[in-house]
């Protein structure tokens, strides 16, 4: 069997999808696994030794051919046609597209294969997804609603691979680097390709000075790519001025993956390095700034700490520049407070972090990454109340149930799912006192969705879409859902039958999800109370 996986995003996204891509090897034993990635991600090749053959999309080469008048107008077409023809000749049995971009969707359509999963563009607006998980990825994640799942989990479920193994596993190479003995070896990743995600040198220096005073024998390794060597040395010089014990460490991806196994912690911005650390089992503190979408792309391991600001513009749009006159989300973070949070993290003092999250909730957001027993990732805001946590868990479970299409079964297993939820609640100290309140909210939402869906059906017959949309926007639906539908309508311009059908599908998904949530709550309520003790 021959399988082609497509991941045409950045290195971080490729690493997040790697657990699912590797899982394909287990799902189809003996299969020949090929991977199509952007040429810009070639440096990640050594990390993915389970891939039998790589193919590269020459993105920047093609893109530059479009803008340079001295290059042949059909060069880009020729290169894409050549690639898709070559890939079609490989006669893949299955192609899985892990990217949620139209570009990848069109490429998917241009490559021949009997079985395809993931976004496949049929027209400017008409798309196929193969499984509901990829429809979810492409519809909800493109909007400001964001959805509830981690990208890595969507890839794993979408590919239908074993979810017990969806931890990122990357190959590593020993560069000969060894940790400093009798020291806390802390890796720092202070650079990002996106300026919006960066923190000022002064802030880093203040936070690390704080840490060097409070953590005895701490030594900081400033990570950087060869292209970032000068910047790394500048930061190192600043740290030396403040008597912080530090040095620059330039390694390849696979060497860093190896070195991270011996590090005491990684303190990083939202970069691909955190996924390397997750693969190496290194404790991670992430500083999420700018467009860092922590719900979607946080480090996929349990008990990482994510620190972010509380400005209303965070997270901002990935593709547009910072809308503020100053870099507010970064500037609002007090470096001493960040240093203090890191110190508690190193001491595994989650209760101190929770107290801090409550006390400073107007200036800092602290979140803890969690994994359920079947390795589904979720983000627990440390200052959120029990009701929010429980509702969030139930949302996740219900979406998983709907996207796996288990709710269509004649004998849907709400009881067994509820048992899993209750086990998880028990393990994580989440009580069920708020179940009734959550159920009431859910029932109210379900009624609203039901009546809106009835109106939508009538609108399709009458072809009166605008009035129906106005009804949705003036309903008491959650604002995040309305925002999502607004985003969705704006991508289509004039809402015709096709676009309206898509919105109808979203609303049906939401209704199915909320119905499953209610049934799970009922099943939970009917369980033997001892389960919760």
């Amino acid at each position: 069997m021959k399988v082609l996986a497509i991941s045409l995003l950045r290195i971080g996204d490729l690493l997040m999808a790697s657990a699912a891509i590797q899982g394909l090897k287990n799902k189809y034993p003996g299969c020949e696994l090929h991977l199509l990635i952007n040429r810009e991600c070639e440096s990640a090749r050594d990390l993915l030794k389970f891939v039998d053959k790589f193919h590269f999309f020459e993105r920047s080469q093609i893109q530059s051919s479009l803008g340079e008048v001295e290059r042949n107008i059909f060069e880009g077409y020729d290169r894409i046609k050549d690639l898709t023809t070559r890939l079609s000749e490989n006669k893949y049995d299955l192609i899985i597209n892990f990217s949620q971009t139209r570009l990848s969707g069109y490429l998917m359509s241009a490559i021949r294969a009997p079985d395809k999963v993931g976004l496949e563009m049929m027209d400017q607006t008409l798309a196929r997804f193969g499984v509901p998980w990829f429809r979810y990825l492409n519809t909800w994640m493109g909007t400001r609603y964001r959805g509830v799942f981690h990208y890595s989990d969507i890839c794993t479920f979408g590919a239908g691979v074993n979810t017990d193994n969806n931890r990122i596993r990357l190959s590593s190479t020993d560069s000969g680097w060894r940790p400093k003995p009798d020291c806390k070896n802390i890796f720092i990743q202070p650079f990002s390709a996106d300026a919006k995600k960066e923190w000022s040198f002064e802030s880093w220096a203040t936070a690390l000075s704080y840490l060097s005073r409070t953590i005895p024998n701490s030594h900081f390794f400033i990570l950087g790519s060869p292209a970032e060597k000068v910047k790394s040395e500048d930061l190192n010089a600043l740290l030396q001025e403040r008597s912080v014990s530090s040095e620059v460490l330039i390694l390849t991806f696979s060497e860093l993956c190896f070195a991270l196994k011996s590090a005491d912690a990684l303190f990083t911005l939202d970069t691909s390095i955190k996924h390397l650390a997750a693969s190496s089992g290194c404790p991670i503190v992430e500083l999420a700034l700018g467009s860092s979408d922590v719900q979607f792309t946080g480090a996929h391991q349990k008990d990482s700490l994510i620190i972010s600001g509380v400005t209303e513009c965070f997270p901002c749009n990935h593709s547009s520049p910072c809308s503020q006159s100053t870099h507010r989300c970064a500037d609002s973070l007090n470096p001493n407070l960040v240093g203090s949070a890191f110190e508690h993290f190193l001491n595994k003092n989650w209760s101190a972090l929770s107290v801090m999250a409550y006390d400073y909730q107007n200036s800092i957001q602290l979140s803890r990454t969690r994994l359920t027993q079947d390795s589904i990732w979720w983000l627990e805001k440390l200052n959120s109340n029990q009701k929010t946590k429980l509702s969030h868990i139930l949302d996740k479970w219900a979406w998983k149930y709907v996207l796996n299409q288990l709710h269509h079964g004649v004998l849907a297993s709400y009881g067994s799912e509820a048992l899993k939820v209750s086990q998880y609640m028990k393990n994580n100290g989440i009580d069920r006192n708020d179940l009734t309140a959550i159920e009431l909210d859910a029932v109210h939402l379900e009624r609203t969705l039901y009546s809106l869906n009835v109106v939508m059906q009538k609108s399709v017959k009458a072809q009166r879409f605008d009035e129906c949309l106005q009804l949705i926007f003036t309903s008491d639906l959650d604002e995040s859902i309305k925002v999502c539908i607004r985003d969705f309508t704006s991508t289509y311009g004039d809402v015709g039958l096709y676009a309206f059908r898509q919105i109808q599908n979203l609303m049906s998904d939401l209704q199915a999800h909320i119905q499953v949530k209610i049934k799970t709550i009922k099943a939970l309520s009917q369980q033997i109370p001892e389960v919760f003790i």
Binding site: R59, N72, I73, D78, R79, I80, D82, T101
Partner: protein, 198 residues
């Protein structure tokens, strides 16, 4: 009028009408640097079109590193081309010295090709070389139609009528109503390209 001078590296360099066609210091090193600037473009190309024969060192470097790549060298100075062929003993069947783009085989123009400019060769002939680039870019008629028709997947595309004075872009192709006459896979290739337009 061709003169031969010796570079500091000991290599022979041609002077044409008093102008050096390669580095006086080290033409081989210069050719290496020239190739480096184009290396990523050459990757995946089915042929290379070099605009300017220079003193031949860049051509020698190109074919030594890409021996299976068909190379077309465009230079109107046939005397220079003959000297280069003799000096380097270029006998490969896949290297062609020609004086205009029209002589390039249709097979080469129908597949991915890369245009490699050798600027030191251009002195005094800038307009000539620039006009060859305009032809090879395919962004003006009649070359646009010629290149389109050489690609089986695009032949069904009607001639794009552009009322603008400037060069054509892939956007013009994507807005052409006859796009829907094309095979679905070709439309997808073009639409994928459209997603890369900034």
């Amino acid at each position: 009028m061709i003169e031969v001078v010796q570079a500091r590296s000991g290599d022979e360099v041609f002077k044409y009408n008093g102008r050096l066609l390669a580095s006086r210091n080290d033409p081989r090193q210069e050719s290496q640097l020239w190739l480096e600037t184009y290396r990523s473009l050459i990757r995946g190309s089915k042929s290379a079109i070099v605009l300017g024969a220079g003193a031949g060192y860049h051509i020698e470097r190109l074919i030594s590193e890409y021996p299976s790549l068909p190379v077309y060298v465009i230079d109107p100075r046939t005397d220079i081309c003959d000297r280069i062929k003799n000096k380097f003993g270029f006998t490969f069947s896949n290297i062609h010295f020609i004086d205009k783009a029209e002589l390039i085989s249709e097979r080469a123009l129908a597949n991915t090709f890369v245009i490699l400019k050798h600027i030191p060769s251009w002195f005094g002939l800038e307009e000539k070389f620039q006009s060859e680039i305009i032809k090879l870019s395919g962004r003006f008629e009649p070359f646009f139609s010629k290149f389109k028709n050489l690609r089986p997947g695009l032949a069904q595309l009607s001639d794009v009528r552009v009322l603008q004075a400037g060069p054509m872009s892939i956007k013009n192709v994507l807005s052409e109503p006859s796009l829907h006459n094309l095979n679905f896979e070709d439309v997808c290739c073009l639409k994928a390209l459209g997603e890369l337009v900034k």
